[in-house]
Amino acid sequence: MSTDLSRVADPGSIKLYTTEPDHHDPITLRSIGFWLYMMSDIMIFAGLFAAHGVYGDAYGTSKITAAQVIDPISALFPTLFLFSSVLFFGLAGVALKNNDRKEVLRWMTAAFVVGLVFVLQEIWEFVKLAQEGAVPQASAFLSDFWTIVWAHGLHVIVGLIWMAVVLIQVLRDGFTEAVVGRFLNLRIFWFFQAVVWVFVYTFVYLMGVS
């Protein structure tokens, strides 16, 4: 509550303004904004998963069921690729702490390549599905299945583009404040994609065939 005048011995001595530089650490400031953005991204997936609760078995007149198009065993490989990519990016983070530029570049390249493999394999899987007639237009379930997997896939693609940018910047500029800020936010983003994939794999793949 408000300060009482009677408790202030000499009102003239009160400090009204400060010229000390703002204590806002730019990297912390960027990170908090990115965490807030991630919260809104979580809501996007929350909406999609809520929709999945409705569309999980909404086949309409289509004869294609979830058990026919979903194969948790073959989806295990992209899962492992994505997790390895996240692990490699985490190791790049460790290398950043050690201030080892070469090591950061090495692990980031590994994370990028494995992430790319994840996307390519998903494309391949879905091209196969489309050839079998399991297109998103066939039923509400398939619409939902394609949308939820590719909403995640789109995030991964955006992450890859971003990773390429940070990779070039680490190569060119080294660990400047802006580059490190971008690197750390990308790390949040990339780990988050693995977390979302855990949910996709559990709710869409594993529970889809049970």
Binding site: P11, T19, L29, L36, Q137, W146, I161
Partner: protein, 699 residues
């Protein structure tokens, strides 16, 4: 591609050849077109004549200054509010004309002067635009303008992101204006009822316009929310704990938490609908396993929190205005904060009350009914706090105070009818009646009143001169009269059983009440004229109406009044240290109103950048191409957006430093202008503010 489109399509021009078949013989559209060309032409001509394009580009279009961005948001909102008023006037006059089988019909309509499809477009665009492109930008604009000043910050946490949000909103507004002349607008209601919005039932481009307007403004709001929350969490001046943050900033916090969590759900709902229309998926279709109530749920999961998104800042305006003009601290600052956050929390538990008649069963309806009534508790706390603030205060009925009081009175009426509608049994008979329409317009009028109060209240802060008091009062009373005459008869018509969205009224006995509403619309039209005149007169007499000190109302309480009017681009010469809930009032009571710090320091400021407006250009072009399904332009725009963002990531020269001596020189110039007047003013307000030191400051 993917879909069977009605009408022509070719790879180069998409659906644009459809335009060749359209008939431009509607005099209303020609009138609107003439108005826009005239208005836009005047602005362009004036800018060219006075050679202001360079100034516009350097000082406004590429700015990252939160105050200028806020002002541009508010201008967009006011222009859209004006257009929304036109549509309201058309709906009201048309309905008053189209009563009974013998009523005349002109301009191709069987009754009245608007064809059924045209009036459907009008009420759809009225709703969409008023909520997303008028009220939301104005409120976001005020949050931009005031929050950093209130918390003693130099700028927003992410000035660049702030400009991106502005230009996305501007593009959504632009898209809405384009839809007026190029093609058509959605006819499916602002909520976009599925499966009516599906391609099978709405084959035109109207729904696509509506989709992209919603989608772009939704993303803009999310971006803005991230920025404002981070600003309030990290950028507060030393001494300002969260509980000392002024109430308007707190309501901005509540609002943006709502925005951050609810707008993504709109993004999902609209994205799924987009897939249905563009790719042919079956989310909300009537066939293929689609479920259109899923859309309604997702839409209102955003839609209801959105209601509190718009009302909370309005409560914030009221909470700033009432203490200033009661010359007392706000009654129970802490409970106001809790009430705000409670409203923000409960906003998540009530969405189903928009469709009690879905038939979810008594248990579900009971839950949502009780949750809805719970909103009344924190809102009641607020009303009593405002009342107790005025109690034994020295209430001055200046224009902002009139608007605030009008707003509180409307809140009581709107709140009461809201409690009625929260009861499912009543809702079963009143669903889709104009009683509901009157209720939510009543609620939105609270916001409109608070907005005009805020415009009057913060105008001297933003521009350095007052709005004309006399015309402001005329504006207020005309607007109040319009509100009473339009919406009291509408409540009555709702009780009589009139449903909403009618293009023909079959009940001749309703005619007198409909005519009363037209009287209200006439009063509204007069009030618009009064407002325009008020702004014109005030700008003309700006030298006479100069603000004398930093504290325009002389009894203001929070930190935005501790800097010059208008605030310099760096906001504060040196960062203020906060000692109290109402820092400026505390300084005034202790005779510490000097704006001159002991010394100055080097200050980091962000540089202006054209990247946000370029990004906005690509987004705008993308959405127009998407509406007309010109795939190659859409592709190029996506590449353009990614390239723009990557370009920004590689920009290194994004900020600069104001040296301490330069800052001192700029400040000295400003201080010299107001110094002796500030001395006078401090003596004056000292006399007025004296008893407060012991009396109320402890509250």
């Amino acid at each position: 591609m993917f879909m069977n489109l009605q009408g022509p399509w070719d790879p180069l021009f998409g659906r644009l050849p459809m335009l060749l078949d359209l008939q431009y013989n509607n005099p209303w559209i020609m009138f609107a077109f003439a108005l826009v060309v005239l208005g836009g032409g005047t602005v362009v001509a004036a800018l060219t004549y006075y050679k202001l394009w360079g100034w516009l580009w350097r000082d406004w279009l590429t700015t990252v200054d939160h105050k200028k961005i806020g002002i541009m948001y508010i201008i967009i909102g006011l222009v859209m509010l004006f257009r929304g008023f036109f549509e309201a006037a058309m709906i009201r006059t048309h309905q008053a004309m189209a009563v009974g089988p013998d009523s005349p019909g002109i301009l191709g309509a069987a009754h009245g002067y608007l064809t059924p499809f045209h009036i459907s477009e009008i009420f759809t665009v009225h709703g969409t635009l008023m909520i997303l492109l008028a009220v939301t930008p104005i409120l976001v604009g005020f949050m931009n303008l005031i929050v950093p000043l209130q918390i003693g910050a130099r700028d927003m946490a992410y000035p660049f992101l702030n400009a991106v949000g502005l230009w996305l909103t501007a593009m959504a507004a632009g898209l809405c204006m384009v839809s007026l002349f190029v093609g058509s607008f959605s006819h499916a209601g602002w909520v976009g009822l599925t499966p009516l919005t599906e391609l099978d039932h709405s084959p035109g481009v109207g729904v696509d316009y509506w989709i992209w307007i919603l989608q772009i403004s939704s993303i803009a709001s999310t971006v803005g929310a991230v920025n404002l929350i981070a600003t309030m969490l990290k950028m507060r001046a030393p001494g300002m704990s969260l509980m000392r943050m002024p109430i308007f900033s707190w309501t901005a916090m509540g609002t943006n938490i709502i925005a951050l969590t609810s707008f993504p759900l709109l993004t999902v709902a609209i994205a799924l609908l987009t897939l249905d229309r563009y790719v042919g998926t079956h989310f909300f279709t009537a066939d293929g396993g689609g479920n259109f109530m899923m859309y309604t749920n997702l839409f209102w999961l955003w839609g209801h929190p959105e209601v509190y998104f718009v009302v909370l800042p309005a409560f914030g305006f009221i909470s700033e205005i009432i203490p200033t003009f009661s010359e007392k601290p706000l009654f129970n600052h802490t409970s106001m904060i809790f009430a705000t956050m409670m409203i923000a929390g409960v906003s998540w538990l009530v969405w189903l009350h928009h469709f009690f008649i879905m038939g979810s069963g008594p248990q579900v309806n009971t839950f949502f009914s009780i949750a809805t009534m719970l909103v009344g508790i924190p809102t009641g706390v607020k009303v009593f706090n405002w009342a107790f603030t005025m109690f034994r205060g020295r209430v001055r009925l200046e224009t902002p105070m009139l608007w605030a009081l009008g707003s509180v009175l409307l809140l009581i009426g709107g709140g009461m009818t809201g409690m009625m509608l929260a009861i499912p049994a009543i809702n079963y008979v009143s669903h889709n009646s104009v009683f509901v329409v009157a209720h939510f317009h009543n609620m939105f009028l609270i916001i409109a009143f608070a907005i005009f109060g805020a415009v009057t209240y913060w105008w001297p802060k933003a521009f350095g001169f007052y709005l004309d008091e006399k015309l402001g009062k005329i504006f207020f009373w005309l607007f109040w009269g319009g509100s009473v005459f339009v919406f009291v008869p509408m409540y009555a018509l709702g009780f009589l059983g009139m449903t909403r969205r009618l293009d023909y009224i079959a009940h001749p006995s309703w005619w007198p009440l409909l005519m009363l509403e037209v009287v209200g619309i006439a009063l509204y039209a007069a009030s618009v004229a009064a407002f325009v005149l008020q702004v014109y007169v005030s700008i003309r007499d700006r030298e006479k109406n100069r603000v004398r000190t930093s504290d325009a109302w002389e009894t203001s309480r929070s930190l935005e009044w501790a800097t010059h009017c208008p605030p310099p681009f760096y906001n504060f010469g040196a960062t203020p240290i906060v000692h109290s809930n109402d820092e400026w009032a505390w300084r005034r009571e202790h005779r510490l109103t000097t704006l001159k710090p002991e010394n100055y320091s080097d200050t980091h400021m962000p540089k202006n950048t054209a990247v946000p407006i370029v990004l906005g250009f690509f987004v705008g072009l993308f959405s127009i191409a998407a509406v007309w399904r010109v795939w190659w332009v859409m592709g190029l725009c996506v590449i353009g957006m990614i390239a723009t963002l990557i370009f920004r990531a590689f920009q290194k020269d994004v900020d600069y430093v104001i040296p301490a001596d330069e800052m001192e020189a700029m400040e000295r110039e400003k201080l010299d202008q107001i110094d002796h007047r500030a001395q006078d003013s401090a003596q004056q307000t000292g006399e007025m503010g004296e008893p407060e030191i012991d009396g109320h400051a402890h509250g």
